[in-house]
Assembly symmetry: C2
Homo-oligomer: 212 residues x 2
DNA sequence: CGTCTATTTGAATGTACTCAAAAGCGGTGG
DNA sequence: CCACCGCTTTTGAGTACATTCAAATAGACG
C-alpha cells in the first residue's frame, strides 16, 4: 500500500498528455483483468518523462525498469571496440523498451537507450514485475505472449539480415515501418540496417534515379 | 484420460534410448511441479523418432507440434526466390525445435525442418499445449521464461549479424557452439552464418595459414 | 546569421559472391 | 577389399557489393 500511495503522488506531479488507459487497453486485448487487477497493475507503474537526446539506459549500469512508450521514440545501441555506434533496436509509442538483457539478468548493461524525441513512458521495476506475476498470474500469460511475439519478430529480422542485401533490407524497412522513416535521422536507420550512412545515401539516390 | 491411455500405448511401442526424465528435469529447473502435474504433462507428450535427412516440418503445411530434442540434430531453413537454401536455426538435444511461426499462428509454414542425424523427440501439439497452460498454470511461467531467453539469444544474434564480419561470426560460432562445428556439414554452417560455403572454406584456410 | 551536425558525392579499397573446375570423402555394390 | 558414384570441400579468377576517407553541400537550431 505504501507503494501505491507513493505512486499516486508521482502521478499527481506528472502531467501527461496521454493516459495510462492506452497501456491497459493493450494489455486487455490479450488477458482478462478485474478492476482490482487493473488498479494494482497501475499502482506498480511509474510515469516518466524524458527529453530528446537524454539517455534512458546507460552502459555499465543495471537497468532498473522496463518501459512502455506512451509517446515518443527511442533507439537502443552499443559502441563497439572501434568506437562505432551500432543501433540494435528502434521503438515508438505502443512498444516496450529497456536494456532487456540487463533488466532480466540484473547485470550491468552493454547497451545505451537514447530518446530521439521528448517522450513519455510508464516504467515498471523488476521487483514490481515479479510481484505482479505472483499477484496477478494472468500477467505471466501476457508476457509469455509478449515474448513469444517479440521472438518471432527477432527471428524474422535475423533471417532478413542474412538473406537480403542492403537495398532489400532498406525497402523492407520503409514498407514495414513507414512511421520511423520520416521521424528519425537517416544515420540511425543506416546503423539499424547494418550499413554506413554514406552507403544508405547512395542507395537512396540510386533508387530515385531508377524511378525517374 | 482417453488421451493418456493413447499415449501410454505410444510409449510402449517406442523404444527410446533416453527417457522423458531429461525433459522433466529441465522443466523442474525453472518451476515446481507436483507428481500429478508431471504425469499430466508427460501424458500430453508424443514420442517420435526420425531418420537422418527426413523432414520434421514441411513448407506449406501447418506445423502441428513443438518438439523437445532428446537426441539428434536439426536445421530449420527456407528456400528463397532464387532457390537458395537459407539455414535460420540449428538445434541439438536439450533444445526445442518447431516451425514456430506456423505452430503459433496455425498458418502454413514458410520453413522446412530437417533431421541432420537419426533423432528422438518429444512432441506436444498446440491443443495440448493450450490445455497444459490452463491446467497447470506454472507452465505459463515456464514458457514465459523460455521465450524470454530465446528472445535474448535472438537479439544477440541480430546484433552480431549486423556488427561482425563473416570471419568474426565464424569465430564466435565455433566458440559458442563447438559441439555443432564437429557434427554438421560446413555448408550448413556457412548458410547459418549468412555466407557461401566457398567463402567459409576460404576463411578457414586463411585462418590456418595465419596460425602457421 | 553562424555554428554544428547530417547528408551527399566521388575515388580508392576491401569484403564477399559467382562460376567453374579439381580434389577429397563416404557409402555402396561388385 | 576395391572401384565407383555422388556429394562436400577446396582453389582460383573475375565481379559485385559495401566500406573508408575526404571534401562539399544542405539543414537544424540557438
Amino acid at each position: 500500500m505504501a507503494k501505491k500511495v507513493e505512486n499516486e503522488m508521482t502521478w499527481e506531479h506528472t502531467h501527461f498528455s496521454i493516459s495510462v488507459d492506452i497501456l491497459l487497453n493493450s494489455v486487455c486485448e490479450h488477458i482478462i483483468l478485474t478492476e482490482e487487477d487493473k488498479d494494482f497493475f497501475v499502482s506498480l507503474l511509474e510515469p516518466k518523462k524524458i527529453k530528446r537526446k537524454e539517455l534512458l539506459v546507460f552502459e555499465g549500469e543495471i537497468t532498473q525498469q522496463q518501459y512502455y512508450i506512451l509517446k515518443g521514440c527511442f533507439r537502443a545501441y552499443q559502441i563497439d571496440k572501434d568506437g562505432v555506434e551500432r543501433v540494435s533496436y528502434l521503438a515508438i509509442e505502443g512498444q516496450w523498451i529497456s536494456g532487456l538483457h540487463s533488466f532480466l539478468s540484473q547485470n550491468p548493461s552493454q547497451i545505451f537507450v537514447e530518446a530521439l524525441e521528448n517522450s513519455e513512458l510508464l516504467g515498471i521495476s523488476k521487483i514490481n514485475l515479479e510481484l505482479l506475476y505472483t499477484t496477478v498470474p494472468s500477467f505471466e500469460k501476457f508476457f509469455r505472449l509478449f515474448y513469444q511475439n517479440a521472438l518471432l519478430a527477432a527471428m524474422e529480422r535475423v533471417s532478413q539480415s542474412i538473406s537480403l542485401n542492403a537495398e532489400q533490407r532498406y525497402l523492407n524497412f520503409i514498407q514495414t515501418r513507414p512511421d520511423l522513416e520520416q521521424r528519425i535521422p537517416q544515420k540511425h536507420i543506416a546503423s539499424y540496417l547494418g550499413i554506413t550512412p554514406e552507403f544508405l545515401s547512395m542507395l537512396r539516390s540510386r533508387m530515385v534515379k531508377r524511378k525517374a
